[in-house]
Symmetry: C2
C-alpha cells in the first residue's frame, strides 16, 4: 500500500538520482517503472530538459506507451517529434487502439503511414483512423473480448484461458455472430457463477444501448452517464460491432467538455492552464481580449451618442453601471443555467417558448423589485422623481431583455448546431450594456430638462 506521501518521496528520490552521475541505471530504471504513469508524468514535467531525455531512455516500450497515455496533449506533441518512427511503432503496439489512433492522427500523414506499416497491431488500429475527432468512432477501442454464440460457458472459459487475450474492457464479453454482428453481452461474473454447460446465448443480455460511430462524444458521455455503463458498444447500421467506448475515456471527455464550456462562457481560449508560460498565455488570451475590447468599444460608443444628455444630467452616469451591470448579471445567470441544462441533456431547443415565458414572468417580478430599489436610491441621492421614474423603467426593461436573451441565445446556438457555451457572458454583457444605456440615456434625453 503506498500513500500519497510515499509516492511523493519516491518521486523526489528519483529526481535526485537523475541528477547524480554515479547513480546505478538498474536502480533508477526499477524505481521509475514502479511509479504509476500519472506520477511519472508529474516527475517528468518537473525535470530540466537535459534530464528528460535520460528519463525517457529508461522506459521500456510498454512503459513508454503507458507514459504517453497519461501525458497531456501539449507535452505529447512535442515529445512525439523526438521519438524515432521505428521506436514509435513498437510503443504504439503496446497501447489501447483508440489511444494509438489518436497519436497517429496527430502525426503528419506521411509519418503516420510509416509508423503504421511497422506496427504489429496495424489491422486493429487502421480502421479507427477514419473517424473524425470528437466522435464515438474516435473514442472507441477494438480491445474487447469476443465470444461465439455457439459456445457454452465451459468453452468460453477454456477459450479465455488458452488465448489470455489482452483487453481494454476485460469485464464485458461481446457475443458476435459469423458476420461480426453484435448479438449480446455477458459479463465475467455471470460466466464464473453459471453452470459450465449453460449456452452463452442463455446468459447474454440482448437489450443493449449502442451508438453509431459518427455520434458526437458529448452524446456518448450522456448515454454512459444516464445508463451508468462501464462500456458502450459502437455498431454500424448492420449491427456489426466496430468497437467499444469505455467509461474511463468518458471521464476525460466530461472533464474536457466541462472545461471548454466554462472557458467559453468566460471568453477564454480553451486549453490554457494556470501554469502555462507567459508567451503561450499571450498568444492564447490576447486575441480573445482584443475581441472583448471591441465589444467594450461598442458599449462606449452607445454612451457617446448621448454625451450631451450626460453633460446636462450627470447623475445619469451614476446609474449607467447599475442598470447595465445588473442586466449583465441577470443575463449571465440565466445563460449559465440554460447552457448547463443543455450540456446535461435535460432540455432541448423545443423548450424555448416555455423557457422564454418563464423568464418574462421572472423578469417582470424581479425587474419591479430591482427597479424599485434603484429608484429609491435615485430619490435619496438626487431627490428627483423624474430621475427615479427613468431609472425604474430602464431597470425593468433591461432586466427583462437580459433574461429573454439569456435563454434564447444558447437555445438558438444549439438549434444551429453550434456550442451553446458560445453565448459567452462577454457578448451577453455587451448586449445588456448597450440596451441598458439606450433605455437609461434614451429616456433621459427626452426628460433631460427635468433631471438636472
Amino acid at each position: 500500500m503506498t500513500t500519497e506521501q510515499e509516492r511523493a518521496a519516491i518521486i523526489q528520490h528519483v529526481k535526485e538520482l537523475l541528477g547524480d552521475e554515479t547513480a546505478q541505471v538498474e536502480e533508477l530504471s526499477f524505481l521509475i517503472s514502479s511509479l504509476h504513469p500519472a506520477d511519472q508524468v508529474d516527475l517528468w514535467r518537473r525535470l530540466p530538459s537535459s534530464k528528460r531525455e535520460t528519463f525517457l531512455a529508461l522506459l521500456s516500450a510498454e512503459g513508454m506507451a503507458r507514459f504517453l497515455q497519461h501525458l497531456p496533449d501539449e507535452d505529447r506533441e512535442e515529445l512525439l517529434e523526438r521519438i524515432p518512427r521505428e521506436t514509435l511503432a513498437l510503443v504504439l503496439d503496446h497501447m489501447e487502439s483508440d489511444e494509438a489512433a489518436d497519436i497517429l492522427r496527430s502525426l503528419p500523414p506521411a509519418d503516420a503511414s510509416r509508423v503504421l506499416a511497422n506496427m504489429r497491431t496495424a489491422l486493429q488500429v487502421a480502421p479507427l483512423l477514419h473517424h473524425a475527432e470528437g466522435t464515438a468512432g474516435s473514442l472507441m477501442t477494438r480491445g474487447y473480448l469476443a465470444l461465439h454464440p455457439d459456445m457454452t460457458v465451459r468453452e468460453a472459459i477454456a477459450f479465455m484461458r488458452l488465448y489470455r487475450p489482452f483487453a481494454d474492457e476485460p469485464y464485458y464479453l461481446y457475443v458476435l455472430d459469423g458476420a461480426n454482428r453484435l448479438r449480446g453481452v455477458v459479463n465475467l461474473r455471470q460466466l464464473i457463477i453459471a453452470e459450465p454447460d449453460t449456452p452463452i446465448t442463455e446468459l447474454m443480455t440482448t437489450d443493449l444501448v449502442t451508438v453509431r460511430p459518427g455520434q458526437d462524444q458529448e452524446e456518448v458521455a450522456r448515454l454512459i452517464r444516464r445508463y451508468r455503463l462501464r462500456a458502450l458498444p459502437v455498431v454500424d447500421e448492420d449491427g456489426t460491432l466496430l468497437g467499444i467506448v469505455t467509461a474511463d475515456d468518458v471521464i476525460d471527455v466530461i472533464t474536457d467538455e466541462d472545461t471548454e464550456d466554462m472557458f467559453r462562457m468566460a471568453g477564454v481560449g480553451v486549453e490554457e492552464r494556470a501554469l502555462s508560460p507567459l508567451k503561450e498565455s499571450l498568444r492564447r488570451r490576447i486575441p480573445h481580449l482584443m475581441v472583448n475590447l471591441v465589444t467594450a468599444f461598442i458599449s462606449g460608443l452607445t454612451v457617446r451618442a448621448f454625451e450631451g444628455t450626460v453633460a446636462q444630467a450627470a447623475t445619469l452616469a451614476v446609474f449607467m453601471p447599475i442598470v447595465a451591470g445588473h442586466g449583465g448579471n441577470t443575463g449571465t445567470q440565466v445563460a449559465t443555467i440554460v447552457v448547463r441544462s443543455l450540456a446535461l441533456g435535460e432540455v432541448g431547443p423545443k423548450a424555448m417558448p416555455r423557457l422564454v415565458a418563464k423568464e418574462i414572468g421572472f423578469g417582470l417580478i424581479h425587474g419591479t423589485l430591482a427597479g424599485a430599489l434603484t429608484a429609491a436610491l435615485a430619490l435619496i441621492i438626487a431627490q428627483n422623481l423624474w430621475l427615479a421614474t427613468v431609472v425604474f423603467g430602464a431597470m425593468i426593461g433591461n432586466v427583462l431583455v437580459a433574461g429573454i436573451t439569456g435563454v434564447m441565445i444558447p437555445l438558438l446556438l444549439r438549434t444551429l448546431r453550434l456550442d451553446p457555451a458560445l453565448a459567452s457572458s462577454i457578448w451577453l454583457t455587451t448586449f445588456t450594456d448597450v440596451m441598458g444605456f439606450l433605455l437609461l440615456l434614451g429616456t433621459g434625453t427626452f426628460l433631460a430638462h427635468k433631471l438636472s
Copy 2:
C-alpha cells in the same frame, strides 16, 4: 438491441396504457420492467400525479430500488415521504449500500432508525451512516467481493460459484486478512486465465491507491481521474477496508462539482435547472440577484463621487464602460483559468508568487496594447491628447489590477479552505468597475479643465 427511437416508442405506449382503464396490468407491468430505470424516470416525470401512483404500484421492490437510484434528488425526497416505512426497508435492501445510506440520511432520524431496524442489510448500511455528506465515506459501498489470502484460484472460483455474491463492483476482488485489513486486489480476468493451483497472494496487486473515509469527494474524483481507476478502496488508519468508491459514482461527483463551479462563477444559486418552475427560480435566484444589485450600487456610488467631473467632461462617460468592462473581462478570464486548474489539481496555493509575477508581465504587455487602442479611440472622437493620456493610464492600471486580483482571490479562497469558485465574476467585476472608475474619473478630476 433497442435504439433511442424504440425506447421512446415503448415509453409512449406505456403512457397510453396508463391512461386506458381497460389495460391489462400484466402487460403494463411487463413493459415497465423492460425499461431501463433512467427511462422509467423520464416516463414518470411526464405523468400526471394520479398516474404516478399507478406507475409506482406496478414496480417490484427491486424495480423500485433501481428506479429510486436514478431519480434526481428533488423528486426523490417528495416520493420518499409517500412510501410506507416497511415497504421502504424492503426497497433499500435491494439497493447499493452507499445509495441506501444516502436515502436514510435524508429521512428524519426517527424514521431512519425505524426503516433500518426492518432492513436485512442493516449491518452493511449502518456503518456508512456515520460519514458526512461529500466525503469518501459517504460515497463508498460495502458491496465488494472479499477473498482470503490463503485461497488458491480454484478455491476462489469455487467460493464465488457457491455464494454467487451480489456486488456493486464485480470485477475487482479484495484480498483481506483475518482482521479485514486490505492486503491486495485481484481481478476476475486474472482469476480466469491463471492456473487453478496458483495462490491468490501470487496474483494480487499490492501497490494500491487508497483513501481515508474523511477525504473530500473532490479528492476522490481527482484520484480516480488521475489513476484511471474503476474503484478506489477506502481504508482506515489500520488499513482495514471500510468500503470502495466506484467510478460510476465519481462521474456523478464530477458532474455535480463542475456544475457547482460554473454556477458559483456566474453567481447563480446551485441546483437550479432550466426547467425548474418559476416559483422555485424566484426563491433561488432573487437572493443572489439582490446581492448583485448591491454590488452594482457600489459601482454607481463610486461614479457619484465624481459627478462634478462627469458634468464638466462628459466624454469621460464614454470611457467608463470601456475601462471598467475590459478590466472585468480580463479578471474573469484569469479567475476562470485559475479556478479550473485548482479544481483539476494542477496547481496549488504555493504557486501564487509565480502566477502573480506572470500576470504582472501579462498585464503590462496587454494593458499597453489595450490602452493604446483605447487612447486612439479617444483621439478620434475627442481630438484631445489629455483625454487620451488619462484613458491610456486608467486602462493599463485597471487591467493590471484585474489580472492580479483574478489570480489571487481564488488562491486565497483555497488557502482558507473555501471554494475558489466563490471568486465569482460578480465580485470581481464590481472590484474592476470601482477600480476602473477611480482611475479614470480620479485622474480625470485633476485634469478636468483640460478635457472639455
